[in-house]
Symmetry: C2
Subunit: 193 residues, 2 copies
DNA sequence: TTTATCTTGGACTGGTCGTTCCAAGATAGG
DNA sequence: CCTATCTTGGAACGACCAGTCCAAGATAAA
C-alpha cells in the first residue's frame, strides 16, 4: 500500500545524539543533523517532528542508553566504597579520554540550554537516578563497616552526585584526568573508618 | 575637536553582563544587548568591537567584579573551616535566591558555550583563583587543628572547587537551597578532626 | 499492473543573525 | 562662528535559522 522508511530511525537518533552532545542544542542547526545523518528535511520532520522534539528524544535516549547503564553497573557492584571509586574512575576516563573526551555529559550540558519542558524533566530524572544509586552503594559500604560511623548517607549521596556533575562540567574545559582523580580521592578518603 | 561618547561604557558592560549571564552568550543576540542598554548598533560596535569581543570583556568583568570579591572575602576570613562553610552558604544563597536565582555563574555557564579563546582563558583563571583561596583556608583550618590529620589539602581544595562548580551548574535547574546546603555539610563534616 | 499511500528531495518562506556602511548629529579647539 | 573629528541612528547586507510544501519516487496490497 504505502512506501516504507528508507532509513533506520534509531540509528539516526544515535547520530543526532552525537551532534547535540558535542556542540550543544543551541549551536546545532537542523542542517547539521541532516548532514550528519544524510537525511532530507522531509524525512527528519516527518519522523521526529521539530528540533525541540528531536532534542527531547535524544535526551531521553542518552539517559536510557548512556547514563543508566553506568548507574546500573554501579548498582550491581556490591563492593561498597571500591564500587563508588571505580564508578568515578570510569566516569573520568570517559570524560577526559577516548572518543568523547571534552564533550561533558549531554544531560549536564543541557543545564545551560534553554531547553523545552520535556527535556528539563530529564535533568531531574538523571539527578535522582544517580543519587539513588550512590545512596545504595554507600549503604552497602556502611553495612560492610567501611565508613566512619555517623555519616549522613543521603546527604553524602547528594554530595557525590554533585561531584559527578562537576566532573562533567569541567571536562568540557579540557581538564586532565589526574587532577580530577585526585579530587575524587580527596572526597572519598575522609569517609573511610 | 571631536564628539564625545553619549553613554558610560562601564555601565553598558554591566548591563550586557546581565543579559549574557541570564540567557547565555549563544542565545543572546546583539539586538538583545542593544535593547537592554539602549545603545545603537554603531555605538556598540564602535566601542566594544563584535559580539565575541564584548563577551570576552563581560567575562573578565564578571571574574574581576563578581567572583574575585567572593574569593577575597573567603581569603580575609581567618576562621578556617567556618570560613569555608560561610563561603558555601553565601554561594548557595546567591545562586538559589534573590536577583540572580537560577542564573548559575557566568564562568561556569561558559563551559557549555563555544566561546572564543580569550574567554576560555578566563575559565582556568577562575578555577585556579578559587582553588588557591580554598587551599589557603584549609591551611588555616589545619593550623588551628580543626582538620583530621593526614588530609591532602591541595586535593581537598580541588574537590571543594569542583563542589562549587556543581552548585553553580545545578542551580540553573532551579534546585532548592536546602539540598545543596546538606550536600556541603556532608562534604565538610568528614574533614573535621 | 494498477492504485492508494507513504516517503523523499529540494525549492521556498519569513524571520533573525552578526556585521557593515553612510549620512546626519554632536562636540570642542581654533 | 567654522571646521575637523568622533559618535550616532538606522538602513541595508548576505548568511543562516527552523519549518513548510509539493511534485516525484517508492512501495505493497489488490
Amino acid at each position: 500500500m504505502a512506501d516504507v522508511k528508507h532509513f533506520d530511525p534509531d540509528r539516526v537518533l544515535g547520530l543526532a545524539e552525537l551532534v547535540f552532545w558535542r556542540r550543544g542544542a543551541g549551536s546545532t542547526g537542523i542542517q547539521d543533523v541532516l548532514t550528519a545523518t544524510g537525511l532530507s528535511r522531509s524525512s527528519l520532520y516527518n519522523t521526529f517532528g521539530g528540533k525541540e522534539d528531536l532534542y527531547e528524544l535524544v535526551m531521553r535516549r542518552y539517559l536510557d542508553q548512556r547514563s543508566r547503564p553506568m548507574f546500573a553497573r554501579l548498582a550491581a557492584d556490591r563492593r561498597g566504597l571500591p564500587a563508588i571509586s571505580s564508578f568515578f574512575s570510569r566516569l573520568i576516563g570517559v570524560r577526559c579520554s577516548g572518543e568523547f573526551a571534552g564533550w561533558g555529559c549531554l544531560v549536564s550540558n543541557a543545564h545551560l540550554e534553554d531547553s523545552p519542558v520535556g527535556a528539563k524533566v530529564v535533568l531531574d530524572e538523571h539527578q535522582a537516578a544517580l543519587s539513588i544509586v550512590l545512596h545504595a552503594a554507600l549503604k552497602v559500604a556502611d553495612d560492610k563497616h567501611q565508613l566512619r560511623p555517623g555519616l549522613d548517607l543521603a546527604a553524602t549521596a547528594e554530595h557525590l552526585t554533585l561531584l559527578a556533575y562537576a566532573i562533567n562540567l569541567r571536562s568540557r574545559a579540557g581538564v586532565q584526568a589526574e587532577p580530577l582523580q585526585a579530587a575524587v580521592r580527596a572526597a572519598l578518603a575522609p569517609l573511610v573508618v
